[in-house]
């Protein structure tokens, strides 16, 4: 019994230590942004990489999500003659939940993994140490631009995903389920509130920060050559995905409960 409690205690302490290291890492990077030098070109480059180059994958996912949602809602709602609510269900589901969560998960897979691999390779090939010897703070130069890009870009990406997702629902609703286009659009607009969109964008900002933080943190602390970089990439994607789903619950509770 004592051995069991000791192992639980050790695991809990290890969790607290890891959480502390993560907070100090994020704090160090954000704190570095309070004083010059600043690297606007690097931030811009990361914004283009995180946002612009993620558009196809996020857009495509959002399109099919909206289409499937309309189709599923129709087959479900037809059982109790509530087909008229489909447009509302699609727009609320996409803006509040599916847009930010799916975009977050897609960006975690595409961008978080790439950040971990890039920074991890720099770590195991001494490039991060080289930055330090060249009087450049790696947290300021490598980590901060990525954190800011994640934080600022994902909301814009989710806004586009919201529009495409709703459009996907509209396509299925009007072309396959034979809804009147004008009626569908009116129903889409009727029950949508500003808070629905804003809550999704706030979630997106949090998810973007999580994705970038996990990618940078695991890459920065990778060890042991190619195997270590591979592990860092896996940890970055898995931990970002779990944290996105976890924080999504608490954010939803904070906004709507």
């Amino acid at each position: 019994m004592i051995a069991f409690l000791a192992s639980v205690g050790a695991a809990f302490l290890a969790f607290l230590a890891a959480a502390g290291r993560l907070v100090m890492f994020a704090g160090g990077a954000l704190g570095a942004g309070l004083t010059p030098p600043y690297y606007p070109r690097l931030i811009l480059r990361q914004i283009v990489y995180v946002g612009y180059f993620s558009l196809p994958v996020v857009g495509l996912t959002a399109l099919f999500t909206g289409m499937v949602l309309a189709l599923q809602s129709y087959t479900g709602f037809a059982r109790f003659n509530a087909e008229g609510a489909i447009a509302t269900v699609v727009v609320l589901s996409v803006t509040r939940e599916l847009g930010p969560v799916i975009a977050g998960l897609m960006v975690a897979g595409r961008v978080g993994a790439a950040m971990a691999a890039e920074i991890g390779t720099m770590r195991v090939t001494d490039q991060i140490d080289a930055l330090t010897t060249l009087s450049t703070d790696p947290l300021r130069y490598l980590v901060l631009p990525r954190l800011l890009a994640g934080l600022l870009t994902l909301p814009a990406l989710v806004l586009v995903a919201d529009i495409i997702g709703v459009f996907g629902g509209f396509l299925v609703g009007t072309y396959k389920l034979n809804f009147n286009p004008a009626t569908y659009l009116t129903q889409t607009e009727q029950y949508l509130e500003t808070m629905d969109v804003v809550s999704g964008l706030v979630k997106a900002a949090v998810f973007g920060f999580i994705v970038a933080l996990m990618g940078c943190y695991h890459g920065y602390h990778s060890r042991g050559g190619a195997e270590g970089v591979g592990q860092a990439t896996t940890y970055a994607v898995v931990s970002a995905s779990i944290l996105i789903l976890l924080s999504n619950y608490f954010l939803t509770q904070a906004f709507f409960a």
Binding site: D126, D129, A130, T132, T133, L134, S135, D137
Partner: protein
């Protein structure tokens, strides 16, 4: 002021200890290096040479001991002071550690642009001068590091290390992985550049040809301690059993290699 006061060592390492878990890598290292001197630290793989150099550079924090640069204690130094101290250093990494995402000239000019805030055009001119100093033409400056051979990457890394004309240069295994001719080219570049610039250097290597060529003084590190140090000429005359075994590359002797059965 007393005129006969002992000169302050450029680098003074006293009682430095560093452990990773239960493994003690540095066990009370005592070593110094005078201004303009070229010190080479030799020793087998895993004896703590790279850890020692990283502690001196401030890339790792020692568990105990003192490291002074120009008489100033650097262990526990604040971030800003450390960043200023880094301006004195140049470092040639074992694997060159060139930035993949930048061109060759941007690599060489990196410390000037990012570390010292120099305008890009001025830094580019200096970078091309330094590339010329290591025998590389301006056309190489436009290439990416991945397009270069191992020897050329070492030369670019050397150009980067000297670009900001540092007071102290560190070389981590400067000739490892190079053929003997390219190794000799690198050794000659190091001696010419270092003597030309008058900088203090600490190199770590297990290449005795390189050590003899670039060192004023050699120290041997074994199991985290300096077991011998002296002028380069003394290395072949000493009766120190560790040095004797290492220099002659014998399997038998006081240095036991850890061989683990699979």
């Amino acid at each position: 002021m007393s005129s006969d006061a002992a000169p302050v060592a450029k680098i003074a390492v006293r009682g430095v200890e560093k452990s990773f878990g239960a493994k003690r890598v540095l066990d009370g290292v005592e070593i110094g290096c005078g201004a303009g001197e070229s010190l080479v630290i030799i020793g087998g793989s895993g004896t703590g040479k790279s850890v020692l150099i990283k502690c001196i550079l401030g890339l790792m924090r020692p568990d105990a001991g003192s490291i002074r640069i120009d008489g100033e204690e650097t262990v526990g130094m604040g971030r800003t002071t450390r960043a200023n101290l880094m301006l004195k250093f140049g470092m040639l990494f074992q694997g060159s550690a060139l930035f993949d995402s930048l061109s060759v000239w941007e690599n060489v000019a990196f410390g000037l642009i990012q570390g010292r805030g120099m305008p890009r055009q001025q830094a580019r001119e200096i970078a091309l001068q330094k590339l010329a100093a290591v025998g590389l033409g301006a056309e190489v400056g436009l290439l990416s590091p991945a397009e270069l051979s191992g020897g050329m990457q070492k030369r670019v890394a050397l150009a980067r290390a000297i670009a900001a004309e540092p007071e102290i240069l560190f070389f981590d295994e400067p000739t490892t992985g190079l053929d003997p001719i390219m190794a000799d080219v690198i050794n000659r570049l190091i001696t010419d550049l270092v003597r030309g610039l008058g900088v203090t250097t600490i190199s770590i290597t297990h290449d005795m040809v390189s050590a003899r060529k670039i060192a004023d003084r050699i120290a041997m590190l074994h199991k985290g301690r300096i077991v011998w140090q002296g002028p380069t000429a003394e290395i072949d005359r000493t009766d120190n059993p560790f040095v004797d075994q290492f220099v002659h590359g014998r399997a038998e002797g006081p240095i036991e290699m850890e061989v683990r059965a699979a």
